[in-house]
Symmetry: C2
Subunit: 181 residues, 2 copies
DNA sequence: TCTAAACTGTATAGCTATAGTCGGGTCAAG
DNA sequence: CTTGACCCGACTATAGCTATACAGTTTAGA
């Protein structure tokens, strides 16, 4: 209807905030080949191409690989569903992995004497850091629970290193243990 | 004390389930250079090297880059803390990103007519899939809430596509709306 | 002792999804 | 006709490895 003029690689790139290199790469990979070329061999993208690109970007935002995207664009629903559910599964694995990494990092920080020796972190700073970093109170509680279950002693040490009183520590640990059940 | 014999690259690899190539790579990068070499120029790792490797692997499990690990091994606590808290921050960003990707994928699945046309998924299979994939009931509830807030109509469509009755759908949506507040 | 397997060395290419850079061609405006 | 903004294809770089090739070394068995 409206915009049926052919677009050059630069215009397209600007419109979707993609670099020229990316578009060339997609062309080479066969993911998005412009439907026509100018006399001087310039790439010319049709509206159809643009729609396809929009789809590609949506899929890309879902974290799908270019190979998977190719599959989605070329195949019918049966295969598509499996690609998508596959991705979903992988996503959860990845999230679980990152969660584990979080724990490991926290352990390292708590374990080393860094905290005590440098006195860089007290409770307030620590909580502030975690909050700034995107963790909700809910998430933090889950951490305590997990921490308590996996390594209670270290949990204790860690809380001590943050300068909490024994009373406070007892309260937190008790709560974490209850919540676990 | 016990094991003070020098180890070859192969032995070390086997012990820690690392490939020879990886060790060579670490050597080249300067991350872990064996303290000595045999007459035939074979790499010989001392106990000290092995301890260092253990540390490296711990850090690696925390998802730290080799560059960051190098930093941690060479520097004192001040810098170390910043590297670690940095990583913590990044981890949360990454997790948030993956969360978003999850949502996008689910939207795509729900949006397309794949479900209806192929009839591949009913509620039970869907729930089973999500559960197998590591999502807790808690997580699923959060999804509904988020889904309801972001795009209520699609939420409705999606639930319909799973074959739920209008009654069930009303219940879920109502609950999601309440929880949001 | 000889030989073959199992090891080691270095060097190189490949993987993903881009970003960026090169030298050179093309096009519109002034 | 020149200037500047575009375009071309090809190449390089990124992280963290893996895999391959080819050559020398060590070790186990016959």
């Amino acid at each position: 209807m409206s915009n049926s003029k052919l677009k050059s690689i630069g215009q397209l790139g600007k419109q979707f905030s993609i670099s020229r290199s990316t578009l060339i790469y997609y062309d080479k990979k066969g993911l998005l080949k412009p439907s026509s070329r100018s006399e001087a061999n310039y790439r010319l993208y049709t509206n159809g191409d643009i729609e396809k690109l929009k789809l590609i970007l949506i899929y890309r935002n879902g974290g799908l690989s270019l190979e998977e995207i190719t599959g989605l664009l070329n195949s019918k629903s049966g295969k598509s569903t499996s690609i998508l559910t596959n991705r979903l599964q992988l996503l959860n694995q990845e999230i679980a992995k990152l969660r584990q990494q979080q724990q490991i990092i926290v352990q390292i920080i708590g374990q080393s004497k860094m905290l005590k020796s440098t006195r860089l972190l007290d409770k307030d700073r620590w909580v502030k850091l975690l909050r700034a970093t995107g963790l909700s109170d809910d998430d933090m509680e889950k951490w305590h629970i997990e921490f308590e279950r996996a390594m209670p002693e270290m949990h204790q040490d860690f809380l001590e290193s943050l300068g909490l009183s024994q009373k406070e520590i007892r309260a937190i640990r008790k709560q974490s243990k209850q919540a676990e059940a």
